[in-house]
């Protein structure tokens, strides 16, 4: 009996002793999908002999590949590199779980062009353009001096603009100046404010600027419409304007070319404000509602219809639309700023009596006769009241 028990022990011992180590590991590898286990790694680190055949011979079998149409099926003739190129050029269909089509674009390299244009050409245009017009006007002021009322003020005034006209003008002017200042602060934040005042200051300035810019824009757009409705009838170009320009508007030289309510120069400012103001508003709306109002692809399509040689791209990614809107917004805005600086000059320090027109609405009668003679005749014919505000010259 004892011999039988002893024999059983020996058989059991031999059975476990001669059983290959990897047969036990194979059970564990089933949990790793056939990959090596922690025990395999530890054994190798200890310098123990490990049967590597489970890996060496596991080189894959194309026969086992799932069909291309299956879930997690193989890519067939498409490699991973091909797939990533498709992502790189937005040719691969990407499905996302949020509401944005823009999120379906994983790689888009137009950002570098946008950044370099913004930091290069746009900033140069703003710096040289606005700086240049200020220097030119300062030089003009010292050379030409202030345009005075020839013979001095008459001491009588006539109402040039009614209060609702001035209200509309100042809503447009106030909002535009704030938009211009905050826009320039945002444009030059990285290149000027950060190097001079530091990141924290730029952060606070940029946060304030974008808040003001985004919210005051509504006043600008509304008052632009109001200004258009109020003054469009007085700003239809006519032959008189050509004569006004031919005589330098009285700014160059001493002539006082005839003009009605608005002269040629004022009409130029009016239409510049309306056309560029509408354009900057549209690109601004596109920026206010990101990816919601793309407009460049359609615009390029229309331009291509008129000028086929242009060959502008009409298939733009959402990000490209935003980049173009941003650049166009800055270009148009800077052009407006340059023109409005000149407008502010001539309406304030550049010409005696001009500010009164928008200040209290009453302008000196002699000033009005010298700059808007036909308008004064019309007003006097209508019986417009003339106020006596001082001694006659």
């Amino acid at each position: 009996m004892k011999l039988k028990v002893l024999g059983a022990y020996l058989i059991a011992l031999l059975t476990f002793a001669v059983t290959p180590a990897h047969s036990q590991d194979e059970g564990q590898r089933a949990s790793t999908g056939g990959a090596q286990t922690l025990e395999d790694i530890l054994a190798r680190q200890k310098g123990l002999e490990v049967d590597e055949s489970f890996r060496r011979e596991n080189l894959g079998n194309p026969e086992n590949a799932k069909a291309i149409s299956d879930k997690l099926g193989s890519l067939g003739g498409v490699s991973s590199s091909d797939l990533y190129r498709g992502i790189r050029y937005s040719e691969t269909e990407i499905k996302v779980s949020n509401n944005s089509h823009a999120a379906e674009v994983l790689v888009q390299d137009g950002g570098m062009g946008w950044l370099l244009t913004r930091q290069g050409g746009i900033q140069a245009f703003a710096g040289y353009g606005i700086g240049g017009i200020i220097i030119a006007l300062a030089a003009f002021y010292f050379l030409r001096g202030r345009m005075t009322i020839e013979g001095g003020p008459s001491g009588q005034t006539i109402e040039r603009f009614k209060s609702f006209e001035r209200f509309g003008h100042w809503c447009l002017a106030g909002s535009f100046i704030m938009l211009a200042c905050t826009g320039l602060l945002l444009l030059f934040g990285r290149s000027v404010i950060i190097p001079v005042f530091g990141h924290e200051a730029n952060s606070a300035i940029a946060t304030f600027s974008i808040w003001v810019h985004n919210n005051i824009a509504w006043v600008f757009m509304a008052s632009l419409v109001a200004i258009f409705v109020m003054w469009v009838a007085h700003n239809i170009p006519n032959k008189l304007d050509l004569e006004w320009f031919a005589k330098g508007g009285g700014i160059v030289g001493n002539a006082h070319p005839s003009a009605r309510k608005f002269n040629g120069g004022q009409k130029l400012i009016f239409w510049m404000t309306i056309i560029l103001g509408a354009s900057v508003s549209m690109s601004g709306l596109s920026l206010l509602f990101p990816f919601e109002l793309p407009m460049f692809a359609k615009t390029f399509g229309m331009i291509n219809t008129i000028f086929p040689a242009m060959g502008l791209s009409t298939e733009l990614l959402p990000h490209e639309e935003m980049q173009l809107a941003h650049l166009w917004h800055a270009i148009v805005a800077i052009t407006m700023i340059i023109a409005i600086v000149a407008h502010i000059y001539i309406g304030s320090v550049g010409m005696e009596g001009a500010f009164d027109a928008m200040g209290n609405g009453q302008v000196d009668l002699e000033w009005a006769r010298q700059h808007h003679d036909l308008w004064v005749e019309q007003e006097e014919a209508k019986g417009a009241p003339i106020q006596q505000v001082g001694d006659a010259r």
Binding site: N98, S100, G168, N215, I216, W218, F289, G359
Partner: protein
């Protein structure tokens, strides 16, 4: 000058009003672009 100051005051009031109205209407880019499963705050 009173008209000018009134216009500036009106501009400030409308700007602040626009901020609150647009915030209430959920027009922020974050809200428009995200899905209901996204927690913004």
């Amino acid at each position: 000058m009173k008209t000018m100051l009134a216009a500036f005051a009106f501009t400030a009031v409308v700007s602040v009003g626009a901020y609150f109205v647009l915030s209430e209407m959920g027009f922020s880019s974050a809200e428009v672009q995200s899905a209901p499963s996204v927690r913004l705050d």
